[in-house]
C-alpha cells in the first residue's frame, strides 16, 4: 500500500466502518465494504483518497441496501426458525431498545441531513462534506444543525411514544 494510502487507512478505516455500519446495520458487512473501498482506492489511486473513500462507501452501501432488500424477500421464510437464545438481561434489553430508537430516528432524517450528519461524525471537515455532497460550505453548518436537532427530536418522540404505549 502506498504511504499516503496507508496513512489514510490508519486514520480513516474505523471511521469508514462506522459510517458504513450506520447504513447497512451489519458490522461484518460494514467491515467487508470498507475493505472493498480501500481495495478500489489502491487500484484507482484517487487524488483525495479520504473523500473518495466515503463517496465510494456511500455508493456501495446504497447498492448493499438494495441487494439486502431483495435477499430479504427470498430468505425471510428460510430464516424463520431462530435459535432459542438465553433471555437477555434488562440491561441488554434497554441498550438494544435505545439503539433501535436511535436507528429509527436516523432513518427519519432526510437522506441529505443524514448523510451530512454521518459524514461529520466520521471525522470529515466541512470542506470535505461540501465537496462530497455538492453543498455550499455555508450550507453544511445549517444542514448539520438541522440534522442534529431532528435526530434528537425524533429520538425523544420515539421514547415518549414507547412510554405512552407501556402506560
Amino acid at each position: 500500500m502506498p504511504d499516503d494510502l496507508a496513512e489514510v487507512y490508519r486514520t480513516t478505516y474505523r471511521a469508514l466502518v462506522r459510517f458504513l455500519y450506520r447504513k447497512v446495520w451489519d458490522a461484518d458487512r460494514a467491515e467487508d465494504l470498507a475493505q472493498e473501498a480501500f481495495t478500489r482506492a489502491l487500484e484507482r489511486r484517487p487524488e483525495n483518497p479520504r473523500g473518495w473513500l466515503f463517496v465510494v462507501a456511500a455508493n456501495m452501501a446504497r447498492d448493499e441496501a438494495r441487494r439486502a432488500a431483495r435477499e430479504r424477500r427470498h430468505l425471510t421464510l428460510l430464516s424463520g426458525e431462530q435459535p432459542a437464545a438465553a433471555p437477555p438481561s434488562d440491561e441488554t434489553l434497554h441498550a438494544e431498545l435505545q439503539r433501535s430508537r436511535v436507528r429509527a430516528a436516523l432513518e427519519q432524517l432526510t437522506p441529505r441531513d443524514r448523510e451530512v450528519l454521518l459524514l461529520w461524525d466520521s471525522g470529515l471537515s466541512y470542506d470535505e462534506i461540501a465537496e462530497q455532497t455538492g453543498l455550499a460550505r455555508g450550507a453544511v453548518s445549517t444542514t448539520l444543525a438541522r440534522a442534529r436537532r431532528r435526530l434528537v427530536e425524533a429520538y425523544e418522540a420515539g421514547s415518549e411514544r414507547s412510554h405512552v404505549a407501556r402506560g
Binding site: R22, D26, E81, D121, S141, L144, R148, R149, L151, V152
Partner: protein, 283 residues
C-alpha cells in the same frame, strides 16, 4: 451585528468558523446575552446528538466473537491439537526404539493431508511410519494430530458439486425437502441453491468463512454398500464415523447428521473438528 444564526453557532462549536467570521462572532457574543444562551443550548444539542450516534457504533469485534460461539471453539481446538501432536510424536518415538514391539492393528492418523479435502481412507497401517513429516501448515497439523479429527477426516468428502442453479425460492426448497431447511443459528444465509436431490445453503461464519450445508430428505439417501449398518435417523454421525471411532475400516461417508427428517452434510474451509461442532449446532 444582528443575532447569529443557528448554522454559525454550530460551525463555531465544530471549530469550522472561518477566521474573519470568528472575530465578528466573538465580538457579538461578548455583548449579546441571548446569543450566549443560544450557544449553550446548541452546545448541549451537539453533545446530545453525538451521544446518540455513539449508541449506534458498530459492536467491537471482541463483542461479536462473544456472540458467536464457534469462534470460541478454535483456540481450544488448536490447543487440543498441539497436545495431541505432542502425544503422537511421543508415541512415535517410543515405538521407534529398537526392539520395541509395535501394534499393527491400529489406524494411523494420516499426518499430511489437507484439512477438509477428502481422502479415501487408508488401510490399517502395517507398522510405524518411516518418518514424521516436518513440514505442513498449522491447520494440517491440527487436523492430522487430533484424534477425533482422524475419524472426521476419513469421513469428509469433497464439497457437493458447485451448484449451477441460481438461488432457489421457497417453493422449490419445500418441494425438495418437504419442509423449511435447517440452518446454523446466528450465521447469515448467503445463498440457497439447488443440488441434484436437495439444496445447498451457504452460510457465512462470523470469521468470514463460508460453510455449506447440503440438505436432503433422509429417505432419498441411498446408503452405500460399504456401510452395512445404515444409520438410524437419530444417529449423530454416519456409520463411517462410528466405524472409524471403533477402529473399523471407514466407509467413506461424509460428515453428516440427521436433523429431523433431513440428512445434513457440512463442508467448509475449517478443521474437521470445527465442522463437526458446527454440525452439532445445526437445527
Amino acid at each position: 451585528m444582528s443575532h447569529v444564526d443557528e448554522g454559525t453557532l454550530h460551525a463555531y462549536l465544530d471549530g469550522e468558523l472561518p477566521g474573519a467570521e470568528m472575530s465578528r462572532f466573538t465580538a457579538h457574543l461578548a455583548e449579546c446575552v441571548d446569543c450566549r444562551a443560544r450557544l449553550e443550548e446548541e452546545r448541549a444539542l451537539v453533545q446530545r446528538a453525538r451521544d446518540l450516534l455513539a449508541l449506534v457504533a458498530p459492536p467491537s469485534s471482541r463483542a461479536r466473537k462473544r456472540a458467536h460461539p464457534w469462534r470460541r471453539l478454535r483456540l481450544p481446538l488448536a490447543w487440543a491439537a498441539t497436545v495431541a501432536l505432542a502425544f503422537a510424536i511421543g508415541r512415535y518415538e517410543e515405538s521407534a526404539r529398537p526392539g520395541r514391539e509395535v501394534k499393527s492393528d491400529r489406524v494411523e492418523p494420516p499426518i499430511v493431508a489437507p484439512p477438509v479435502v477428502a481422502t479415501r481412507p487408508a488401510a490399517p497401517h502395517p507398522g510405524p511410519r518411516a518418518s514424521i513429516p516436518s513440514s505442513g501448515t498449522a491447520a494440517q497439523r491440527e487436523v492430522a494430530a487430533t484424534p477425533t479429527a482422524v475419524m472426521a477426516q476419513e469421513a469428509v468428502a469433497p464439497p457437493p458439486p458447485p451448484p449451477p442453479a441460481p438461488a432457489v425460492d421457497l417453493d422449490s426448497v419445500r418441494h425438495f425437502l418437504a419442509q423449511a431447511p435447517v440452518l446454523l443459528p446466528g450465521a447469515p444465509v448467503r445463498r440457497v441453491t439447488r443440488a441434484p436431490d436437495g439444496i445447498v445453503v451457504e452460510q457465512q461464519l462470523e470469521s468470514g468463512e463460508i460453510i455449506r450445508l447440503y440438505e436432503r430428505q433422509a429417505l432419498a439417501v441411498q446408503p452405500p454398500a460399504a456401510a452395512k449398518a445404515a444409520p438410524q435417523p437419530s444417529a449423530r454421525r454416519t456409520a463411517a464415523l462410528d466405524n472409524a471411532a471403533a477402529g473399523a475400516p471407514p466407509g467413506g461417508e461424509r460428515l453428516a447428521r440427521y436433523v429431523g427428517s433431513l440428512r445434513v452434510e457440512i463442508t467448509g474451509p475449517l478443521p474437521a473438528d470445527s465442522l463437526s461442532k458446527l454440525l452439532d449446532l445445526v437445527k
